[in-house]
C-alpha cells in the first residue's frame, strides 16, 4: 500500500492582485521508494513538502481532495494531533542549517530535545544515540560537536547535524528539502548513502526535493519535474535523459559538464504555455 497519497493539492496565497497559486492541483503517491521532486526555486517543490506536513503559514491555504498517510487523511486531523505526525511519522530536513538550527542552543541539546520530549528515554541514552547518529552522518569528533553551537559549524556540518536530528525518531517518511545542496560532492555522496540505507533498511519513504537534476536522476527511483506549481513531467529517474518536456531538456542543457567543454552555456528560454497546462496526473 502507498505510504502517502496526495490528491489534487493546492497551496494558495491571497495577494492584492488576487489569489496566487504556489501549487496548482498536483497529485502523486509515495510508496517505499525514493521520489524526487525537481524544479527551479519558486516552482512550488518546497511548498509541496511543507503542505504535506501542514506547515503553510497563514494567510496561505492548503486545499486538497486528500493527503493520506497510510489511509489517514492528514487534513482531518486537529492541530494537536498533527504534532504527533510531525517529526515522529513524517520528518522534514530543512534547506538551510543557518536558519533551522537554534543559534543559542548547543547541538547536543537540540538533537536530544525532540527525542527526550517523547519520554521513555533517559538523557544518557539520548546522548549516546545522538553520538551514534552523528557518526552515521560521518561527523568527525561527535563529542566535540555535541557541545558546540551552530555558528561553530561549517554549512556542511550543520546540514549533517540536521539530518542526524531528523533521523532520531525513526520516521516513516522523510521529506528532504535540498538536504545536500550545501554540501560538497564527496560528502554529498556519504549523506545520500546514509539516507539510501535508511530507506531500504527501515522501509521508509523518501521525498527528495532538489534542484540538482544529476543528483536526483542518480539517487531517486522516480522523478516529478515541477514548473510554476505544476507537475510537467513524471519519469523514471534513470530515464531522465530521455525527458520529453522542453523545460526538463532546457534544465539539463544549462548544466556545465566536465566531459563536454563549451564556451558559453545554454540559457533556458521559458514558454508561457508551460505555466498554463494542467498538472500531470501521477501514474
Amino acid at each position: 500500500m502507498d505510504l502517502l497519497s496526495v490528491q489534487n493539492l493546492w497551496v494558495k496565497f491571497p495577494t492584492r492582485q488576487g489569489i496566487f497559486d504556489a501549487v496548482s492541483g498536483i497529485s502523486f503517491n509515495l510508496g517505499r521508494e525514493r521520489l524526487g521532486i525537481v524544479g527551479e526555486s519558486g516552482s512550488g517543490k518546497s511548498m509541496t513538502g511543507r503542505a504535506i506536513l501542514r506547515l503553510i503559514q497563514k494567510p496561505g491555504r492548503i486545499e486538497a481532495d486528500h493527503i493520506k498517510l497510510q489511509g489517514e487523511n492528514l487534513l482531518d486531523l486537529a492541530e494537536a494531533q498533527m504534532r504527533s505526525v510531525r517529526g515522529q511519522k513524517i520528518s522534514m530536513i530543512m534547506q538551510d542549517p543557518k536558519f533551522s538550527l537554534n543559534p543559542v542552543m548547543t547541538i547536543g541539546d537540540q538533537i536530544t530535545e525532540a527525542f527526550l520530549l517523547k519520554g521513555s528515554t533517559t538523557k544518557a541514552e539520548a546522548w549516546a544515540k545522538s553520538i551514534s547518529m552523528l557518526e552515521a552522518v560521518s561527523i568527525r569528533d561527535p563529542e566535540r560537536v555535541m557541545r558546540a553551537y551552530p555558528h561553530e559549524m561549517s554549512g556542511g556540518m550543520g546540514q549533517r547535524v540536521m539530518i542526524a536530528m531528523m533521523l532520531m525518531p525513526d520516521p516513516k517518511i522523510l521529506i528532504a528539502d535540498e538536504p545536500t545542496s550545501a554540501l560538497d560532492v564527496s560528502v554529498q555522496r556519504q549523506v545520500l548513502d546514509i539516507m539510501d540505507g535508511l530507506v531500504k533498511e527501515r522501509g521508509m519513504g523518501l521525498i527528495f526535493i532538489s534542484h540538482d537534476l544529476n543528483l536526483v536522476s542518480e539517487f531517486c527511483d522516480r522523478v516529478l519535474i515541477m514548473y510554476a506549481g505544476r507537475i510537467v513531467e513524471i519519469c523514471e529517474a534513470n530515464k531522465l535523459h530521455q525527458a520529453k518536456h522542453a523545460y526538463t531538456k532546457g534544465l539539463l542543457n544549462s548544466l556545465p559538464r566536465l566531459d563536454r567543454p563549451r564556451k558559453r552555456l545554454d540559457v533556458l528560454t521559458r514558454e508561457d504555455i508551460w505555466a498554463k497546462t494542467d498538472s500531470l496526473r501521477s501514474l
Partner: protein
C-alpha cells in the same frame, strides 16, 4: 608578473587548545587574466584564503602579493580595493535589505571617489545585464540571479582587475547559474579580469577556470590544469575521488 602570489600562507582561528589551523602553508600564484579555481570540501580552507587576501581573517602569517605589492595584517589600502573585489556566496545575505540597488551602487561608487555617480550606476546595471529599470528596487524585489548580478555590479564599481568569487552560483538554480557564469565569462573577456574562484562544484570550476588547486584540511594537495581535470588524470587519490564523485552523476545523463 602574476596577479596574486601566495607563499606559505597560514591562517588560524582561536587560541591554545581551541586553535584551528584553517590554512596550512599554502602557496600558489594566479596569472593576470587567468581564472584559478580552489576546490575542496567545506572546511578545507578555500574561502579562508579569500578572506586572508581581503583582510577579513584576523590572524594569518606568510606572504600575500597582489599586483606585486605585499599585504600586511588586516588593513587594506584604498588602492587595494580598487584592484581587488569580492563576490560573496549568498546574494540573499550580502545585500542590505533596506538599501535600494541605487543606494548599494552609489555608496560603493562614492567610496571609490568616482565622479558622475548617476551615469555610472546606470552603466554598471547595463553591464551586468539588468538595465536601469532595476535601479530603485529593494533586494526583496529581485530574484536570486538578479541579486547576484547586483553583487557583481557592486564588485565592478571600482573597476577592479581581480575578482575573488566565493561560490558565486551555489545558491542559484542551474538555469540562472548558466546566466551568471556566461556573464562572468563575458566580463572577463571585455575587461581582462583575473578570477580567483572558490567552488565545490567541479563542473563549474571546469567550465570557468584554466587551472585549479585541490584543497583538503587546509592544505593544497595538487594544482592541476583543467585538461587534467577533464581527463581525470589527478595524481592524488583524494582529487581522484572528488573527480569520480562528480563525474559519476554526469555519465548517467
Amino acid at each position: 608578473m602574476s596577479a596574486i602570489t601566495i607563499r606559505n600562507l597560514e591562517v588560524w582561528f582561536g587560541v591554545d587548545e581551541n586553535r584551528v589551523n584553517a590554512v596550512k602553508s599554502v602557496s600558489f600564484a594566479v596569472d593576470r587574466g587567468e581564472s584559478f579555481g580552489l576546490v575542496g570540501e567545506s572546511g578545507s580552507g578555500k574561502s579562508t584564503i579569500l578572506k586572508a587576501i581581503t583582510g577579513l581573517a584576523p590572524t594569518w602569517h606568510g606572504e600575500i602579493f597582489v599586483d606585486g605589492k605585499t599585504l600586511n595584517g588586516t588593513q587594506r589600502s584604498k588602492d587595494f580595493f580598487k584592484t581587488v573585489q569580492m563576490v560573496f556566496q549568498d546574494p540573499y545575505a550580502s545585500l542590505h535589505p533596506r538599501h535600494t540597488v541605487d543606494q548599494v551602487l552609489s555608496e560603493t561608487l562614492y567610496l571609490h571617489q568616482v565622479q558622475d555617480i548617476d551615469v555610472r550606476v546606470i552603466k554598471l546595471l547595463t553591464d551586468v545585464g539588468l538595465g536601469s529599470k532595476f535601479r530603485f528596487r529593494y533586494p526583496h524585489q529581485l530574484s536570486g540571479g538578479q541579486r547576484q548580478r547586483v553583487a557583481i555590479a557592486r564588485a565592478l564599481a571600482g573597476e577592479p582587475d581581480i575578482l575573488l568569487l566565493d561560490e558565486p552560483t551555489s545558491a542559484l538554480d542551474v538555469s540562472v547559474q548558466a546566466e551568471i557564469l556566461n556573464l562572468l565569462t563575458d566580463l572577463q573577456e571585455e575587461r581582462n579580469l583575473t578570477y580567483l574562484m572558490v567552488s565545490h562544484d567541479l563542473p563549474v570550476i571546469g567550465h570557468m577556470c584554466n587551472r585549479l588547486a585541490v584543497m583538503k584540511d587546509g592544505e593544497i594537495l595538487e594544482v592541476m590544469s583543467v585538461e587534467d581535470l577533464r581527463q581525470g588524470s589527478a595524481n592524488h587519490s583524494y582529487s581522484k575521488s572528488l573527480i569520480t564523485a562528480s563525474s559519476a552523476s554526469l555519465s548517467s545523463i
